[in-house]
């Protein structure tokens, strides 16, 4: 079985300051991990993904995430927030051998990122 926990439902930062969105996962086997972003009235967009290659993953729009197996974490960071980063962010896990959902993704409940001017 697989699950993912996003530790903060809301995160508020000032424009130009660093962003940290926290995610912990649980997986019986070797997980693949993703971060998706959802802007209002738009489809979910993939930010980055980890699939057992480099543990530090770089994504679009300056975001990156580090896979830490010992901590079962996959936190999303960005050095400097922009107003356009305001959105809902989802941490997602899929387990290669889960057998359920046939590569369907297991989403966290989301973190709403607020950018203060």
């Amino acid at each position: 079985a697989q699950s993912v926990t996003q530790l903060d439902s809301h995160v508020s930062v000032s424009e130009g300051t660093p962003v940290l969105l926290r995610c912990n996962y649980s997986s019986s086997y070797s997980p693949s991990l993703f971060w998706y972003v959802q802007h209002p009235n738009k489809g979910l967009q993939l930010l980055l993904k980890y699939t057992s290659a480099a543990t530090l993953v770089k994504g679009i729009n300056g975001f990156e995430a580090e896979f830490k197996k010992s901590e079962t974490s996959f936190h999303l960071t960005k050095p400097s927030a922009h107003m356009s980063d305001a959105a809902e962010y989802f941490c997602v896990v899929t387990d290669m051998y889960s057998g359920g959902g046939a590569d369907g993704l297991t989403f966290g409940k989301g973190t709403h990122l607020i950018i203060q001017p």
């Binding site: 693949s32 998706y36 009235n41 738009k42 489809g43 979910l44 967009q45 993939l46 993904k49 699939t51 989802f90 997602v92 899929t94 290669m96 359920g100 959902g101 046939a102 590569d103 369907g104 993704l105 297991t106 989403f107 966290g108 409940k109 989301g110």
Partner: protein
């Protein structure tokens, strides 16, 4: 280029009505997924197609939910005798290959269903 499209974008139904939600995946994408996203929650997996074959429907919440993809392209999610708890955004996603987790899933904008 065209992405995943869904129609209608918004649907209001009276309790007990049947509804049909349409998904047009990206042309040539083999895999198609349906998810349900309740208010304030993350999307939850409903069902998965590889071409026209429905390989997994373990996430469908009841036998009132039915999905099809008869020609391996467009898919329809049908909900019979809608209930208030069916109110949610229904998301469709497609990916190029059958091995979904190696391939990015591209999501449509969703259909927001409200059952009164």
């Amino acid at each position: 280029g065209a992405g995943v499209s869904q129609s209608p974008r918004y649907k209001v139904a009276k309790r007990g009505q049947d509804v049909a939600l349409r998904c047009d995946p990206i042309s040539g994408h083999v895999s198609l997924f349906w998810y349900q996203q309740a208010l304030g929650q993350g999307p939850e997996f409903l069902t998965y197609f590889q071409n026209e074959a429905q390989l997994d429907k373990s996430g469908l919440p009841s036998d009132r939910f039915f999905a099809e993809r008869p020609e391996g392209s467009v898919s329809t999610l049908k909900i019979q005798r809608t209930q208030q708890e069916d109110s949610a955004v229904y998301l469709c996603a497609s990916s190029l290959s059958g091995t979904g987790f190696y391939n990015e899933q591209f999501f449509g904008p969703g259909t927001r269903l409200t059952v009164l």
